[in-house]
């Protein structure tokens, strides 16, 4: 990209242009402008590091348990234990994919990847969800296999024990991956970078003090009390309950979703779903094992339970798949109301029409907007541009806005 090295132009700033704009220009030293400025990239880096740490611990735990199971299975010469160890291996693979995605999403943008590597997260999450499905299918197949081939004497008890062990392991990892979103809550509002709209000292709800230093300036957007965002008002009430519920966080179509998803990185979420699915399956196998142990003739229960619980597991992944699909289809994120945005823009005096409005997300939480705004012939294009950009950034928290001003 050809650049003027004429720094004088950058300095010449009119009063009404917020200093932010020139800062963005100055920061872009290389061809593609870094997708986030310094403040958010460090916040991103911190969130990434936290997610990576969690996943790393989960991977290590998995590996430990897997070796235990492999050793035990070889000693006891039991296929059931070995297959469970294989499932743990697939867990490890899935976590490794998530880990890689999180790490990769921190790479700097390059001229070929002008938006940075944030999408890798989404693709990694897609891959790990596919693996969940694959595993569910394999489990069903194995249940059928057991049905055809199984010897009923040893089955029930062994199934029960193995799956109980698996359940304990999975629950431990679920707690690890999902538990601390309470103090991750503060990371959530951080992505509204760049507008210091005054501090909101109202952090009575949050525990860990030092993490919301950066959160201070941005929370006004999400705490509607000092702010005239009437359409956010009713959503603040959901804040606390939203954060409490583990599995509901991904579904609420409110603006809070942006934070709740951000607070738990989508890959960590995917890993959590994976582990949750495994626990559900383990419960199913335990039930089946117990029943078979008690009544060894009812082998069909195994298959029924596996099928049933596989369906449940697939059900838990549906929401996440939907979110992933929406991002990959470049659709308008759920938390942004495009109609309202357009109406808000049209409400402005100088704006005659708005077309080609595209709002899409790079990854959950990073939203971009591009549109063409037609203004009255005599209007001051620059003022309108600033007004529009400001409105969008302020009201909707969209960080990257490109607006083309056209005159009638």
């Amino acid at each position: 990209m050809s650049r003027d090295s004429d720094q004088g132009h950058v300095v010449e700033v009119r009063g009404d242009i917020p200093p932010r704009e020139t800062r963005e220009i100055k920061v872009c030293d290389e061809a593609p402008c870094g997708f986030s400025d310094a403040k958010t990239s460090s916040k991103d880096a911190r969130e990434r590091a936290a997610s990576m740490r969690k996943l790393m611990i989960a991977v290590i735990l998995c590996v430990i348990f897997m070796t235990v199971e492999v050793v035990g299975g070889i000693k006891a010469n039991s296929l059931a234990i070995l297959t469970d160890a294989a499932h743990l291996l697939s867990d490890v693979a899935s976590f490794a994919i998530s880990l890689f995605s999180i790490w990769a999403s921190g790479w700097e943008a390059t001229p070929r990847q002008t938006y940075g590597f944030f999408r890798i997260e989404i693709l990694g999450a897609l891959v790990s969800i596919q693996m969940i499905w694959l595993l569910a299918g394999i489990l069903v197949y194995e249940a059928i296999d057991r049905l055809i081939n199984g010897t009923s004497t040893v089955n029930g008890f062994l199934m029960f024990i193995v799956s109980a062990f698996g359940l304990v392991v999975n629950v431990a990892m679920a707690l690890l991956l999902g538990h601390d979103h309470d103090h991750d809550h503060n990371h959530g509002h951080g992505h509204g970078h760049g507008h210091g709209n005054g501090g909101d000292p109202d952090h009575a709800k949050d525990e860990s003090g030092d993490l919301h230093i950066q959160g201070l300036t941005f929370t006004t957007h999400h705490r509607p009390h000092p702010h005239p965002h009437h359409h956010h008002a009713h959503e603040a009430d959901h804040t606390q309950p939203l954060l409490e519920a583990h599995t509901d966080t991904e579904t609420e179509p409110t603006s809070k979703t942006v934070e709740t998803k951000r607070q738990r990185n989508i890959n960590v979420q995917g890993a959590y779903l994976h582990v949750l699915g495994d626990s559900i399956q383990s419960v199913g196998v335990m039930i089946a094992g117990a029943i078979i142990w008690w009544k060894p003739k009812w082998k069909i229960v195994d298959l029924i339970c596996t099928l049933l619980f596989s369906v449940i597991v697939l059900g838990t992944t549906i929401r996440m798949i939907r979110n992933i699909l929406e991002v990959l289809m470049e659709s308008t994120p759920r938390e942004i109301d495009a109609t309202k945005l357009e109406e808000g823009l049209l409400d402005m005096d100088e704006v005659v029409a708005v077309h080609e409005l595209h709002i899409w997300a790079i990854t959950v939480g990073k939203v971009l907007l591009a549109c063409h705004v037609k203004i009255k012939r005599e209007a001051n294009a620059d003022a309108v541009l600033n007004k529009v950009v400001d409105y969008i950034k302020r009201e909707y928290n969209i960080i990257h806005v490109t607006v083309q001003i056209e005159r009638e």
Binding site: D4, R112, T114, Q130, V140, Y141, A338, I405
Partner: protein, 398 residues
């Protein structure tokens, strides 16, 4: 940029079969959008209707166009019309349109292009075959058949998703899906590629397993099923033979999808062929036949799908479009900054919604207020020549 046109194998589809023109009419825009090499036997898809560039017809011309394939009717223009009509759809977020899709699914296919019909045939064949196999496997108690049936069912599911995306991608862009539904094709291509990757890994694991354990008992009675599997997949290969390249350059969305279906059936047939070969070699007494064959098949499938993986992954990752070389980009930038009103250009980002539909955004620093519109027009026309029609240019005045 004036390379010779002799590489273009495409023809204007004017109901002419077996046209292998070296030249294309002048309407065919830009050579910078690389062509796809076709095998030179007859190109047998003339569209059912006269060429139309409107992608809302269900009979879309496939490989030949009167205009450059990147001349899509702007999704956003349709958006303007539909935004009035679709005001009531706000709450449904596409669920309503999916319902319509389900209802009109077969109708769409019946009036759809021939690839859709072929795919439907293929899927039905596969489903029939796998249910028979499953039934036989359950009744006779042979686990190998059941596992094969499962594998086939997974494959069928994927092919169904491909078919669904073919049908769904013809929907007009809606309020929520402002870029339309064509991405579904890229997604289905990516999913197919992923599945094939998984398959290749699992074959490699199987080979490793056979190597370690040195067992080969379950290959024998699978011969019949392998042969039938091969036959079914070869039918699929024949149906999609126009996509019989590994390194196709994708010019439209459907290209990726069809290519992925082709690779899917090809990989399946390679796998069945490998099984047959392995059991034949085993019967001949070759020691590590299974390991060899499975390993070969796994490597072959991996090599096959890598280009598709990369291409579809690139689109999904919003990579800079391969069809717009960076030399063209820098040339554009130079031309823009050469204008006296422009002082700077920054944040130039381009990506592809689907192969062939490039979207971009730019920021330009203009020196004064008055000349904005002329700069805008200039920039748009410059990029229009490159084939980028969806461009948003923000002009900041210093």
């Amino acid at each position: 940029m004036d390379k010779s046109r002799s590489f273009k194998y495409y023809t204007l589809a004017n109901e002419n079969q077996s046209q292998w023109n070296g030249e294309l009419g002048p309407e065919m825009g830009d050579r910078r959008f690389a062509y796809r090499r076709q095998p030179s036997f007859r190109q047998s898809h003339e569209p059912h209707t006269p060429i139309s560039i409107h992608h809302n017809d269900s009979t879309k011309p496939m490989l030949s166009r009167t205009m450059s394939s990147i001349d899509m009717p702007d999704g956003p223009l349709l958006f303007e019309e539909t935004e009035v009509a679709a005001g009531g759809r706000k709450g449904s977020r596409g669920n309503l349109s999916y319902f319509y899709l389900v209802v009109s699914f077969f109708k769409a296919i019946r009036s759809g292009n021939r690839y859709m019909k072929r795919l439907l045939w293929l899927i039905s064949l596969n489903v029939a075959y796998s249910t028979i196999e499953l039934a036989v496997g359950l009744i006779t108690g042979r686990v190998g058949l059941v596992s094969d049936a499962f594998h086939l069912t997974f494959g069928c599911g994927l092919l169904t998703f491909s078919l669904f995306s073919m049908v769904a991608s013809q929907e007009k862009p809606s309020r929520f899906y402002t870029y339309g539904y064509k991405r579904l094709e890229v997604l289905s291509a990516f999913t197919n590629a992923l599945f094939l990757l998984f398959m290749s890994f699992s074959l490699a694991v199987e080979a490793l397993h056979a190597f370690i354990q040195d067992e080969s008992e379950h290959k024998h009675y699978l011969i019949v099923s392998a042969v039938t599997n091969l036959a079914v997949n070869l039918v699929g290969v024949w149906f999609f033979r126009n996509y019989a390249r590994i390194n196709i350059v994708y010019r439209q969305a459907e290209d990726m999808n069809y290519h992925s279906v082709f690779l899917h059936v090809l990989a399946d047939s390679i796998r069945s062929a490998g099984l047959i070969l392995a059991s034949w070699l085993l019967s001949l007494g070759v020691q590590n036949a299974e390991v060899l064959c499975m390993g070969l098949v796994s490597a072959a499938v991996f090599m096959l799908i890598m280009p598709l993986c990369k291409a579809s992954g690139g689109i999904l990752l919003q990579m800079a479009p391969p069809s717009v070389p960076s030399s063209a980009q820098s040339k554009c930038w130079r031309q823009i900054t050469a204008r006296e009103e422009v002082s700077d250009i920054s944040q130039a980002r381009f990506w592809e919604v689907v192969p062939g539909h490039v979207v971009g955004s730019l920021r330009i620093q203009v020196k004064d207020d008055a000349s904005e519109q002329s700069v805008l027009q200039f920039v748009h026309s410059l990029y229009h020549d490159l084939g980028i029609h969806d461009l948003t240019v923000q002009t900041d005045v210093l």
